[in-house]
């Protein structure tokens, strides 16, 4: 093993791996998330950033909540509205959030979205209702090129477990120290 002992025996119960070699930057995930969560304006919990490989050619980096194990948004939250669900997903309780936006300041992935109307700092919740019912998140459904791979980490034979064990799928910016728990990436050329 290794790749930090297969990311400390895989972190959440689920993984969402984004293969940046397959992502075309079509932003269907962004739109699907916007519709699924009925978000205002053109808000989405996902943002697709245009990037450049070292050789100058373009690629795209979709970013949403990484469901960090050491989530700074959770520790700074004064109300405890941000919390870890037993699935490993980081969720927000919209009944207790006060909208102080400390979580938005603290998230290094800029994954929080402020809903002005509700006065709440929301984010990707992994479409947990669908997932717990056996389905997949809306962004995974919407990804035509199949760049988004979703599955269970507590099943060692699943595609996501294999990808992490092989070291191909890695966390984004591990140097931030938050230990992404559910989102992992296959970086260009890997």
């Amino acid at each position: 093993m290794t790749l930090d002992q297969a990311l400390a025996e895989a972190r959440g119960k689920y993984a969402l791996i984004i293969d940046l070699n397959k992502c075309t930057g079509c932003r269907a995930c962004e739109l699907a998330c916007h519709q699924r969560n009925e978000l205002p304006g053109d808000m989405s919990y996902i943002r697709v950033y245009p990037k450049q490989k070292p050789d100058g050619s373009p690629y795209f980096l979709p970013v949403q909540c990484q469901h960090c194990v050491k989530a700074p948004c959770e520790s700074v939250c004064p109300t405890g509205a941000t919390y870890h669900h037993e699935s490993g997903a980081v969720l927000v309780n919209d009944k207790t959030c006060v909208g102080c936006r400390y979580c938005m300041v603290a998230c290094p992935y800029d994954a929080r979205r402020y809903d002005e109307e509700k006065g709440i700092a929301e984010k990707c919740w992994l479409c947990l209702d669908w997932v717990l019912g056996g389905g997949v998140p809306a962004c995974v459904q919407a990804c035509a090129p199949g760049a988004r791979i979703f599955g269970r980490l507590d099943d060692p034979d699943s595609e996501v477990s294999q990808l992490i064990a092989s070291g191909r799928a890695k966390p984004l910016h591990p140097e931030f120290g938050t230990e992404p728990g559910i989102l992992f990436y296959i970086f260009p050329g890997e």
Partner: protein, 311 residues
């Protein structure tokens, strides 16, 4: 571009919280060292204790006003007392304790100077004795208030310094800088500005004050320099933040509204005051106003120049 989630209201709050805490600290030092009792009328403790509560209350109201759902449904604020991993929760507790202590301390000072208030209060609060042991009550409140004031001043810095996502803030120097700046703005407001207006020869009374103040101003300059130097040497977005402050779009604010009025000018004035054993009336007022304005813009600069890590 700096972070965009927190803006002016947070910056003003950080400033008012610090200055309120610093005002109480100034009064408490004059009280507890016994300086207060060398004169019939002591404007420093009266002003320092009197303004500390209102300043922190205004700041706290701004904080509440800055909330989203917590402003629309204020009972949610109760939850903010509950999550102790959050520095904001520490802050809510500190403010909740600081405000009544500072208000009471201020009231004691005012009542001591205007005894009619006690007589008036006794018309409603019949249980109050006809005379109060002002001195002992005040000393207890000054002591407890001073401890809470240090807490309030430091926590406003820790609030930002725990945020790893903004490298400019992520240094233990920041809480120190905020503490020193709180003391300095508190002295600027209560002595240079307030007491100078009330009793123009105030610095002649307390020889130690210009010395304490000049040390604080010097320390503040060093800490600001260190925060920027550490950021600069880190490279990346931290260096970008430093560049933003020193020579970028925020540089005018830094040099014209922080360095000159809050560090350079007051340093010169206080150096003169130490030599002459008095504040000039005009220079005292100008240095007080300069220090206060610089305290506000220092918070503004730090809040608005904090560039988040890049993805």
């Amino acid at each position: 571009m700096g972070q965009t989630h927190w803006g002016w209201l947070v910056a003003i709050y950080l400033f008012l919280g610090g200055m309120g805490a610093g005002s109480l600290l100034t009064a408490a030092v004059v009280e507890l060292t016994g300086e207060r009792y060398k004169h019939a009328f002591c404007p420093t403790t009266l002003i320092g204790a009197g303004v500390s509560g209102p300043l922190v209350i205004i700041g706290s109201l701004l904080l509440i006003f800055d909330l989203g759902a917590g402003k629309m449904e204020p009972w949610r604020i109760i939850y903010m007392f509950t999550h102790f991993t959050s520095v904001m929760t520490w802050g809510i507790w500190l403010l909740t304790l600081f405000i009544p202590v500072s208000l009471l301390y201020g009231l004691m000072e005012i009542m001591d100077n205007y005894p009619g208030i006690l007589a008036w209060l006794r018309r409603f609060l019949k249980f109050l004795p006809a005379t109060l042991p002002y001195r002992s009550i005040r000393r207890v409140l000054a002591g407890v208030g001073a401890v809470l004031a240090v807490g309030v001043a430091i926590y406003t810095g820790i609030l930002l310094s725990v945020v790893r996502a903004v490298p400019l803030w992520h240094t233990p120097l920041l809480p120190l800088l905020f503490l020193v700046s709180a003391g300095s703005t508190g002295m600027g407001l209560t002595i240079d500005l307030g007491a100078t207006i009330a009793v123009p020869d105030v610095a002649r009374r307390f020889h130690a004050l210009p010395i304490i103040h000049i040390v604080l101003i010097g320390l503040e300059a060093v800490l600001i320099g260190l925060v920027l130097a550490v950021a600069w040497l880190q490279g990346g977005v931290a260096a970008e933040s430093a560049r933003l402050v020193l020579m970028g779009p925020n540089a005018v604010i830094f040099w014209a509204f922080v360095v000159f009025p809050g560090l350079f000018y007051p340093f010169v004035v206080h150096a003169y005051a130490i030599g002459a054993r008095r504040h000039g009336f005009i220079s005292g007022i100008l240095s007080g106003a300069g220090i206060v304005i610089a305290g506000l813009f220092l918070r503004y600069l730090i809040v608005f120049s904090g560039i988040p890590v890049a993805l």
